[in-house]
Symmetry: C2
Subunit: 315 residues, 2 copies
């Protein structure tokens, strides 16, 4: 007990929040100092708890993955639901006319992921008409958890494209998110609210010539002021595209506070969208496909977080 109460943190705390209670009687100050030090101990225990939670999540991952793998095989058509197969074989069934039987043999669910993304209706990354041409080739979105260690953990969103995609060379575009366990060590009694995503890296897209969806080519008419002659110049200008999502702003070595305001907002949006995909959309992709999730989501806008609604009973 004495260790915590008398730890050097006391001094830090005293200085950093002195304005709040510097006018207190010294005995009150000491008592608050002691409480603040126990608060730090509490937050440290929270970090430990969250590490264990991460391990639990990682342990459950293969089971969740098994279900998602089954769904994947139905989406891409590598597997047909058993009942459907039975139906196809009973070719005598009157309701299934030739037209329908022909249809049945088309595999999987076309444009599944394009529809899912469109149904997210994201403010930050809306799907543009031009994007749709490319997102038709999006065959899967996966989230892989990388094994957690003591300090950090990370996950990667993988966007799988068909090799026939004419827009870029890569068949997988990735975006990796780093999760930090620890709270800010400079201010140890700052409220600890669990691990946080603190940065992300998008993979580089090698666009095929004249297929870059994030820029638009425009021919500009330029008149020479002296001779009056007109010439045409081809200029490239950036346009809104879903694929901007892959060009995350990089964080300077000096930290996030060195970033421009605009980049900070971008980073925040990138993290928010990544977490939305990982936690909300991918585990309920079919509900986004049918549009059902969106309806449910709007109904309960306020409790879309998993643990916070109630289950975090560890005080």
């Amino acid at each position: 007990m004495a260790t915590t109460e008398n730890s050097p943190v006391i001094e830090n705390l005293h200085h950093s929040s002195s304005s709040l209670w510097s006018n207190c009687r010294p005995d009150i100050q000491r008592r608050i100092n002691a409480l603040l030090n126990y608060q730090v101990e509490y937050f440290r225990l929270r970090v430990e708890f969250h590490r264990q939670l991460q391990d639990l999540q990682y342990a459950y991952n293969p089971e969740f993955e098994r279900i998602i793998e089954r769904q994947r095989s139905i989406i891409d058509g590598s597997c047909e639901p058993k009942e459907l197969e039975k139906l196809i074989n009973q070719s005598s069934i009157a309701q299934i006319n030739n037209q329908q039987t022909a249809n049945v043999q088309r595999k999987g669910l076309e444009n599944f992921w394009l529809k899912v993304l469109k149904n997210i209706d994201s403010y930050d990354y809306p799907i543009q008409r031009r994007d749709e041409l490319c997102l038709k080739y999006l065959s899967d979105i996966r989230c892989t958890l990388n094994p957690p260690d003591v300090e950090t953990s990370s996950f990667t969103l993988e966007f799988h494209f068909l090799p026939t995609n004419p827009f870029f060379i890569e068949t997988i575009l990735t975006k990796q998110y780093r999760i930090r366990f620890e709270s800010n060590n400079i201010n140890p009694y700052r409220s600890y609210d669990g691990p946080e995503v603190d940065c992300c890296y998008g993979s580089i897209i090698t666009w095929k010539p004249d297929h870059n969806l994030t820029i638009r080519k425009r021919t500009k008419r330029i008149r020479n002021k002296i001779t009056g002659q007109v010439r045409f110049e081809c200029i490239e200008e950036p346009v809104k595209s879903f694929f901007e999502f892959f060009s995350s702003p990089t964080i300077p070595t000096n930290g996030i506070h060195e970033m421009t305001n605009e980049d900070q907002i971008r980073l925040e949006a990138d993290i928010e969208f990544g977490l939305l995909l990982k936690q909300r959309v991918l585990p309920r992709a079919v509900l986004y496909y049918t549009g059902e999730a969106l309806r449910v989501f709007n109904d309960e806008e306020e409790d879309d977080d998993d643990e916070s609604t109630s289950s975090d009973s560890s005080r």
Copy 2:
């Protein structure tokens, strides 16, 4: 695999969301049905995961409790921080004048919990001036976790009052919250977002005569219309009070939908305030006491939830 795909759930799903994709080709419908059934399996696994999470939280509870117990002893003055004791013994220290030494001997932190509650600045349960007279006797707020079972889990908020409290007889007022693991079984593919608090019960307060803070006595002047005679009648009317928190609306046996709109809103507010106390305030009580938590809380209003920000990596 076949078990899930062909489970009777298929029929339910088909009916309940038929409007969404009833015009699909039958093969597409079958595939979506299969996906929806896997979705249900996914949510079932989530329930299981959340049960394990609850166990983990319950296992960590004694360790968190140990820290909170230490803090408690400093707040109520049953224990003095070691460094402070040292300081008191060094009576030669010039800075500590007689006045201060006298002060030092006052135990603990007066009105600690009253200040904490006032600093929450709750919209639903603001502390009224009259409440403060009683909340001065509030010596502790505790949260006890009741052991989770397969179906539910619960926690109880305990408000401990000094026996000298002149307002009511009880020394502990409680509010119990029930947490339900399962999602709605009637609609199994409805998005599952983890366990939810679904009801709460407040304990009855036995107010001492003329000390009920939730009602106000008023003398009403009544003139007889015929005789013109005036008489005075003492009437009681309800007034806003923090103690309304303990009189939660009861849920009818037929379910929440049978409640009046007003009661539903009250129940929601009660659940929200209870979760705020349990998850946010009690684990950081000293930061609320100093006012620090409020500042931090406002800074990061958007990510006040524990697991949802990032750590829920189990897809």
